[in-house]
Symmetry: C2
Subunit: 189 residues, 2 copies
DNA sequence: TTTATAAGTGAATTATAATTCACTTATTTG
DNA sequence: CAAATAAGTGAATTATAATTCACTTATAAA
């Protein structure tokens, strides 16, 4: 018997990301994915039950690469330092993987997304919320509800990366520094 | 002869907004729109050339309601006050019109959007950028590039409104105050 | 080697949804 | 009121894209 080919899954995922960037989720077709991945359309159904499953699997994979793997291993640094590290790596990831991020964004707000996929980044969010809470305990972060603080960090990084990418502005250490300063001023006590 | 019926356009727009919220742009069909608007599918094509035109027209209408009309008439207030007024009205608009905002968001990042529609909010953005520039001149706003400052305001309001809506948190004057304070601390010199 | 099994194929099928059009109806205007 | 014109209808058509399946190939295991 023959075994499934990991390289094919990669090719399928890459094709999906590329095509979504080019034509969007709406006009993304299974046959286009197959052609781009250099396989037959039927083969897609050997690897995935259908379009939704394919997209959800890709999304879950990207979320784990784009969030969990960015959490720093070292957790004994000062809070501000830890938040800076996360800010910096998330911003860098989003600037370095624009097609992937575009896919994630479009998919996240589409009705194709499954509940399970939606929950994938929960662990990452929880980590940041814990940091904010510790910061409040140490009196270095504003004593405001996380529902008010978290959207600032998330909304800013999301929009900033999109904006810089759109205007073809390269991410420099200076920009990382400046934007973190803006963030920190926003949330610091 | 018979005249076109403005109320029908309204019904079509409302149906489109509702349905997009329920099933998303992907599964939004012309027949569903027609049924919901209580008209025949063919009638849609009397009012619009097709799906793209319908969606783009709706988007343009919503943008002008959701941005330009929110710009304050009075322009002689202090910069900080003006920014607060805009912050407050944009946040309120976004919390009060969640279906419309969801449509706008999904459509904006879809490939169906026309270049002209994309430019609709330019005037609004320019107004805010002018305010930021004046703030810098008065030394009350950080002397950073607008490419760094603007995404904070836009990203935060966008994400905050979505987050509060999702968690069914009502917008109180206290939240408006707190979130503006966060913003202002972020951008103030 | 052989063979059993599952991957791989892509034309054909099926499903879905956009759009058209021959016809009916309402309303304006002379 | 009658005629003209454009709105309004929805079944039929057309377009598009998901999915299937009878068949071919590759390869792991005997």
């Amino acid at each position: 018997m023959r075994l499934k080919d990991d390289a094919k899954v990669e090719a399928i995922f890459n094709a999906t990301i590329e095509l979504t960037g080019e034509v969007g989720l709406n006009r993304l077709t299974m046959s286009a994915i197959a052609t781009r991945a250099k396989i037959a359309s039927g083969t897609l159904y050997i690897y995935f039950n259908g379009k939704e499953q394919l997209l959800n699997n890709l999304y879950k994979r990207l979320i784990s690469e784009g969030t969990l793997s960015l959490l720093p291993a070292i957790t004994h640094l000062p809070i501000k330092q830890q938040i800076f590290n996360i800010w910096s790596s998330v911003l860098k990831f989003r600037m370095d993987n624009t097609s992937e991020v575009a896919f994630m964004h479009e998919f996240r707000y589409s009705p194709l997304i499954s509940d399970k996929a939606k929950e994938m980044d929960k662990e990452f969010v929880l980590h940041v919320l814990r940091l904010l809470n510790e910061g409040k305990k140490e009196l270095i972060v504003k004593d405001l509800d996380n529902d008010v603080l978290f959207p600032l960090l998330y909304g800013y990084v999301d929009n900033l990366a999109r904006h810089l990418t759109h205007k073809k502005i390269k991410l420099t250490p200076e920009i990382v520094r400046q934007t973190f300063q803006v963030c920190w001023d926003a949330i610091k006590a």
